[in-house]
Amino acid sequence: MSDLGYDVAHMLGAVVLLMSFALLYQRRLFSLLNVFTMQALALTATAAWQAYSHGEPHLYITALLTLVLKAILIPVALHRIVVKMKIHRTIEPALGIGLTMVAGVSLVTLSILLVLPVTADATALTRENLALSLSVVLLGLLMMISRRNAVSQVVGFMSIENGLILAAVGVAGMPLVVEMSVAFSVMVAFIIFGIFLFHIRERFDTLDMQKIESFRGESD
């Protein structure tokens, strides 16, 4: 028989992974940000469920941090950046959506193949959780590679961090200090990203990485 705690944790993790795929599928920046918000919400639910089912109250703090930072603060800020820079109608698949999705599924397969032998004697929950979070991390990396626009690369980075938190809440005994420091370093990284975006924009008049690559520092 299956127990509810395992099943629900498992489903919520799957939702986070599914949202990673949805991120890869999006073309418009606004819908990208919406999907990112949904991923953060799913992550919040995962953390809260783990806190409830394992009786680890410090995970509630993780859930709260995720909710406030990832689901509210960062999407709203990114939204404002996109509006301010007037790039909300940008359609920017660098690699072709279909090809990206195929690459994504291969990455998930790869992470499962990697996790299976390493965790042969661990519990099913740990195994699945590791496979799921490694997939989310790899998909975030893929997102950063396959997109041209700097804003969607930032979103890719943030979703990598979502994968890390997913791993952290799944494995029992992760100290709160580590989670806090990860969360805050992401916050700092986000602020730096924001400043960078404005600087890149000011200097090059674009956020398209392909155009920026041709600059070699000898601009007038």
Partner: protein, 318 residues
């Protein structure tokens, strides 16, 4: 006695799906009309349409071959049989041993094959466009469907629909990533196969996008009635399939009495009503997709079903 009852249930089911299919179509149209602020025709309108078509004279193209005339019958029979195979209110059916998911896909596939042939038979350009688009959709939808079947079959260790429903009813399997992915993929395939809105819209005759309509443009009279009835049956079939595999609650199992079976019929009608409402909600909230993005949509379904099968290997108890 058991066999007799099973045969009775089987006949009842065949009649039930035939009777309910136009009602389901009418219900979806009514809910859609209400959602966009129109009154909409009554739910009985599809029945009236079918009867009207049955009374009308058949007009055939001069160069239509015997195939063109035979296809509506073949297609209707195949889909009706397929709809009769899916357990809707009880798993105790006479055809249950043959009610295999793969047989179901084969029946649907042959119906589609003949319709595509008929679309090309009269040699009009629209028919050709429709057939080629239908085959493009089929080339992606069928592998996705088969992957879904494989994930479910690995989990349940059977491809028989009655056994799958019994297994799901027994509660031996909890929430699974694979099942969730398979469900999403199946819904996507069902939307594409039934020519619902993001893929196709049979209510219009817009040449840029039409798929199903383009193939059946040349049909008239009772032939058209059969084709239309077959597509209504197909929509019911997919809803019944989703309900049977992922939400079989309320279904009567072998050994339970006639009262349970009657309850199963009521629950099935309720499931159809809910499914139709969800479909109408989805369709009114989304825009039609360009034909060339259909590949992406169905490719997504294929990848999701593939992921579902992959995840079976990390989850517990396979």
């Amino acid at each position: 006695m058991t066999l007799l009852l099973a045969t009775f249930y089987q006949i009842l089911q065949m009649l039930l799906v035939l009777a309910l299919a136009p009602l389901l179509t009418g219900w979806v149209r009514l809910v859609k009309a209400r959602l966009v602020g129109r009154r909409g025709p009554s739910m009985a309108q599809p029945y009236r349409d079918l009867l009207r078509l049955l009374r009308k004279e058949v007009v055939l193209a001069r160069n239509a071959s015997w195939l063109f005339r035979a296809v509506p019958y073949m297609m209707f029979t195949a889909i009706w049989l397929a709809a009769g195979l899916v357990p809707v209110f009880t798993t105790q059916l006479a055809l249950a041993p043959t009610a295999d998911l793969i047989a179901l896909i084969a029946l649907l596939g042959s119906a589609r094959f003949f319709l595509a042939l008929a679309g090309m038979d009269t040699g009009t350009s629209f028919g050709g466009i429709g057939s080629s688009r239908e085959m493009m959709i089929a080339a992606l939808a069928e592998p996705a469907m088969l992957m879904i079947v494989f994930s479910v079959a690995i989990l349940v260790r059977s491809t028989s629909l009655a056994e799958i429903a019994d297994f799901m009813l027994s509660g031996a399997v909890g929430l699974r990533i694979s099942l969730a992915l398979a469900l999403i993929a199946l819904v996507m395939v069902a939307i594409a196969e039934n020519a619902r809105i993001p893929i196709d819209n049979p209510a219009t005759h817009l040449e840029l996008t039409m798929v199903h309509e383009a193939m059946v443009l040349e049909y008239s009279g009772r032939h058209l009635a059969l084709v239309e009835a077959a597509s209504m049956l197909k929509m019911l079939l997919y809803m019944a399939l989703i309900a049977c595999v992922f939400a079989p609650w309320g279904m009567a199992t072998a050994g339970s009495g006639v009262a349970a079976a009657l309850g199963g019929v009521a629950v099935f009608v309720a499931k159809l009503a809910v499914g139709g409402t969800l479909l109408a909600l989805f369709e009114t909230s989304i825009a039609k997709m360009r034909v060339f993005r259909v590949g992406e949509f169905l490719g997504g379904a294929l990848l999701l079903s593939l992921l579902g099968a992959i995840f079976l290997y990390v989850s517990r108890g396979v």
